[in-house]
């Protein structure tokens, strides 16, 4: 007879685990902390790639300069608009597609494949396709359709640049949301839906009282994962608007790029990077708190 051996003290004695953990943890620490530490270091340095004579400790001046520049607040605002709008669109469409493609219909597997497909198109290519083939005011498909219906074609990247970028990024991320939510839909107990029907629920009420509660956990997961990636959106902006017109589509990520590789101001860009990390953490904290409330069924 052996006693159950799950007390912590006993487990410690079973095996020393740190030799096994050290390589992974060490590598992760290096991976995450070295760049972060370097960024922090540079953010307090005078460091411009164009002028090697500017050196030395800068104090808070990189931060001060950044925080006082009008581009900074605008970029944070743009960042939040982009992330928020794409989140809303992808979650709404994701739920819609998940519910739709969970039904039985002819050609379902092909339809499922098609709705997932944009996920496999790399961001630069997606942005180029949208910019040149779809949204171009002269040659684009949208312009053609608009003229066909008697409207004036919209020059998206001139008049509604942010809407244009949001459309592209949302198109890229709807498949992700759909995929996760569709998988979740398949674990929904059909009898629950039938019970709701017997109880007198119609489509919208079934959605509200049965499907959405069932999807709440995957929804929050989709939201968190997307937020992480959306905060770093770059290629779509670079390819389509280059942050313009003016600052209209300059997000914080893009602003850092502008500072570092257009103005060659490494110090200022690093300060932006540090602020971006702080912003991401605030958003993450905010999300995790709502999620924690949501996930507790």
């Amino acid at each position: 007879m052996t006693k159950p051996t799950t007390t912590p003290t006993h487990r410690k004695k079973l095996m020393r685990t740190w030799p096994l953990l050290t390589p992974t943890v060490g590598l992760l620490l290096l991976w995450a902390f070295v760049p972060l530490a370097m960024t922090l270091w540079f953010s307090f340095q005078r460091y411009n790639l164009l002028d090697p004579t500017i050196t030395g400790f800068a104090g808070w001046s990189n931060y001060k300069f950044l925080l006082e520049s009008p581009a900074f607040l605008i970029s944070i605002f743009n960042e939040l608009v982009l992330v928020g709008a794409v989140l809303i669109i992808t979650l709404v469409l994701g739920v819609a597609f998940a519910v739709l493609f969970d039904q039985e219909f002819i050609g379902r597997s092909i339809a499922r494949l098609l709705v997932i497909a944009p996920f496999f198109v790399m961001p630069t290519v997606a942005a180029l396709i949208w910019k040149n083939l779809l949204m171009d005011p002269v040659n684009g498909v949208f312009a053609y359709l608009a003229r066909l219906l008697g409207f004036t074609p919209v020059d998206w990247f001139t008049h509604y640049p942010m809407a244009g970028v949001v459309m592209i990024v949302a198109w890229e991320w709807v498949p992700f949301a759909t995929l996760i939510l569709l998988t979740a839909m398949q674990s929904l107990d059909r009898q629950q839906v039938e019970a709701a029907k017997m109880d007198g629920a119609r489509g919208p009420q079934i959605l509200r009282y049965v499907i959405l509660p069932h999807l709440s956990r995957p929804l929050t997961i989709v939201m968190m994962m997307e937020t992480i990636y959306l905060l770093a959106v770059f290629a779509e902006i670079f390819v389509t608007t280059s942050g313009g017109p003016g600052n209209a589509t300059t997000t914080l990520t893009y602003l850092i790029y502008l500072r570092a590789l257009v103005s060659f101001n490494v110090g200022g860009a690093s300060a932006g990077g540090v602020l971006a990390v702080i912003l991401a953490n605030i958003v993450a904290l905010f999300l995790i708190r709502t999620v924690a409330r949501n996930v507790d069924l």
Partner: protein, 358 residues
């Protein structure tokens, strides 16, 4: 008040017909049990009645009104699902009140009705819990409570006890019987378990492969099975069904030769050489020295209150005999068996041949 009429009801998935024309009338306040082997279409028929499955052909009438195209919630029926299908994110009280809430019943009345149902089912203490924090039996009661609260015209149960352990199953079975007594409403109950059917039903409907084999009270089915299928399905242990051939017949009675060689007399005229099946329930066999059927005991099961013996009589299947628990039968012993009334006889098509009762 609720009578249900099923008129030539049919259901096909593509060109596979799973319900093949059901005619049945269910009376007000009756407890009807649909019983049959797995896959015979009981659930499908129940779901057609509930409105969850489209009706391919025939008519369904509730209180004389055709409801084929009436949506489920407008039929006034409540269903208890096999998996209970409680809403996991709602409390017990919200689960039970959900239908009333959708129907726009004011909160005060909703609460009152939930309280009444909760009291009946001893759920009062659990009203604020989520289904995840309930035991199987409690979830079952919540599912029944959710049905009661709606005050439906009729209750539909689809194998409600199959997820419970044996002890709880017996207890819940009794509670459902009591509930039927208290509520005095029409109930349709689907099961594959003939014991549930026998204990609960006013009337049993035996299904096989999408059609009805027989409708009757539990005792009618037990004593007068209409065919081989019902004979084999109702009763536990199973009725002995032994192939036989008519050796001679004298207008009043016939002598058969059972599979394995034993002679057997039945009180009816039959054609010589005719092939029939004799059905004898294990509890209707006596061990006596005058018995014409002799067999060697191969397996003995002691159940405490009784003893089941399986004896080889030369045929393919052993003869099952129910003996009193005091019986001193030994393994390997050769015994002589005689029927005690109540033998049943089936023709080659499997239909019962009427025998005069003696």
């Amino acid at each position: 008040m609720c009578t249900l009429e099923l008129k030539n009801l049919r259901k096909a998935y593509g060109n596979i017909e799973v319900i093949k024309g059901i005619d049945l009338t269910i009376n007000d306040r009756e407890f009807v049990v649909f019983v049959g082997p797995s896959g015979c279409g009981k659930s499908t028929l129940l779901r057609m009645i509930a409105g969850l499955e489209e009706i391919t052909g025939g008519d369904l009438l509730i209180d004389g009104v055709r409801v084929n195209d009436v949506p489920p919630d407008k039929r006034g029926l409540a269903m208890v699902f096999q998996s209970y299908a409680l809403y996991p994110h709602m409390t017990v009280a919200d689960n039970m009140a959900f239908a009333l809430r959708l129907a726009g019943v004011p909160k005060a009345e909703r609460d009152a009705r939930v309280q009444v149902a909760a009291k009946t089912l001893q759920l009062d203490a659990l009203l604020d819990r989520k289904p995840a924090n309930l035991s199987g039996g409690q979830r079952q009661r919540v599912a029944i409570g959710r049905a009661i609260v709606r005050q439906p015209k009729a209750f539909l149960f689809d194998e409600p006890l199959s997820n419970l352990d044996a002890a709880l199953r017996v207890q819940t079975r009794i509670e459902i019987a009591k509930l039927h007594n208290d509520l005095q409403s029409t109930m349709i109950y689907v099961t594959h378990d003939q014991i549930e059917a026998m204990t609960l039903a006013d009337r049993i409907v035996v299904f096989n492969a999408g059609h009805i084999e027989q409708v009757g009270t539990p005792l009618e089915l037990y004593h007068n099975p209409a065919n081989l299928f019902v004979a084999g399905f109702i009763g536990s242990p199973k009725m002995n069904l032994i192939g036989a051939e008519v050796e001679s017949s004298n207008g009043q009675s016939s002598t058969l030769r059972l599979e394995g060689g034993s002679p057997f007399t039945v009180p009816t005229a039959l054609g010589q050489g005719e092939k029939v099946t004799v059905g004898i329930r294990p509890e209707h066999i006596a061990v006596t020295d005058q018995g014409t059927i002799s067999g060697r005991v191969e397996v003995i099961e002691h159940l405490g209150n009784e003893t089941i013996a399986y004896a080889s009589i030369g045929g393919a299947e052993p003869l099952t005999v129910k003996l009193p628990s005091a019986s001193t039968v030994q393994l390997g012993e050769t015994l002589h068996f005689a029927p005690r009334g109540h033998a049943a006889l089936f023709n080659q098509a499997g239909q019962a041949i009427a025998l005069p009762r003696g």
